[in-house]
Symmetry: C2
Subunit: 174 residues, 2 copies
């Protein structure tokens, strides 16, 4: 996820906790420890972006989760490009295939982590990850990373196991 | 996720929105539309479980997302076993490899969806999904389902792409 600090320096961190949380208005959340540099940035700017990585950026993603924007410019270090969102006061990673731009609408203190609920102002996707029928980003094309805390490793997504709202239909009958 | 209704009838539904949201206290969230039967059950009982499915239950998972507990007993229909949690007032699916038992600690109205933040009272895992070194549930053994809304299908998890806190180390130097 991407944020700006008070000096306009772009920062990015790897968020392990978060997800979609509402359909109308469309909202996602990210949950951060107060100690992170991004936490202070979001508190200030009330905005963040989520840039979804593809497999080939696994080293960069791992690095974004270890280094702190307090000490280093992570964009400069990796050579990735911080592009300023036109909709919210935050940068996104130009090279990543799917970008979600969020305006913070709720902040919930849960304990060690703060939840930032962001209303989705736009989703930008590379043309080549859109499914030909649904015109939505498809995982088989994005090739996103899955974080497995049980083995402390990153996994890819696997094969299709069946169509939703279809493979369970046989159980609806009778 | 599993809940009881006011008559003690166990229900289960497939939740698409949710995830881990705090480390201390350990909390997860699920986000449901008010129209779901489970929504009313959680409001009443302030408890739910999350049972993580493995690949072989893809048809049952799809069915759990289509049928409503208002009309049918989904456990009876699928032959899966509702076991009463000893820690919270909710049932879990005996056959599924990982179970998370939650007491609701926060309810946030976000719009179409309500977020239920649940404090994790226990996680129960089958022995054979625990990683031999970390003793935590490992995705390669659980074989959980991923829901891809872009293709309206379920995917498995794929191959390991690298170790976390490791593969990005080269970027930390210099």
């Amino acid at each position: 996820m991407g944020t700006y600090d008070n000096n306009g320096k772009p920062n990015v961190m790897t968020a392990a906790y978060g997800g979609i949380c509402c359909a109308k208005p469309p909202c996602i959340n990210v949950c951060l420890r107060k100690a992170t540099y991004s936490h202070g940035n979001i508190m200030e700017k009330k905005a963040y972006t989520v840039s979804i990585a593809s497999e080939k950026y696994v080293a960069e993603v791992d690095y974004f989760g270890m280094a702190s924007g307090r000490d280093v410019d992570k964009f400069e270090k990796t050579g990735l490009t911080p592009t300023r969102s036109e909709l919210v006061d935050a940068p996104y990673i130009e090279e990543f295939p799917v970008i979600v731009e969020c305006k913070v609408v709720e902040i919930f203190e849960l304990g060690m982590h703060t939840m930032f609920v962001g209303e989705v102002m736009d989703v930008k996707s590379d043309e080549d990850v859109l499914h030909e029928k649904t015109k939505m980003p498809a995982m088989e094309s994005i090739k996103p990373l899955i974080f497995d805390i049980g083995t402390r490793s990153y996994l890819g997504v696997g094969d299709s196991l069946g169509r939703a709202y279809n493979i369970g239909k046989s159980l609806m009958e009778g």
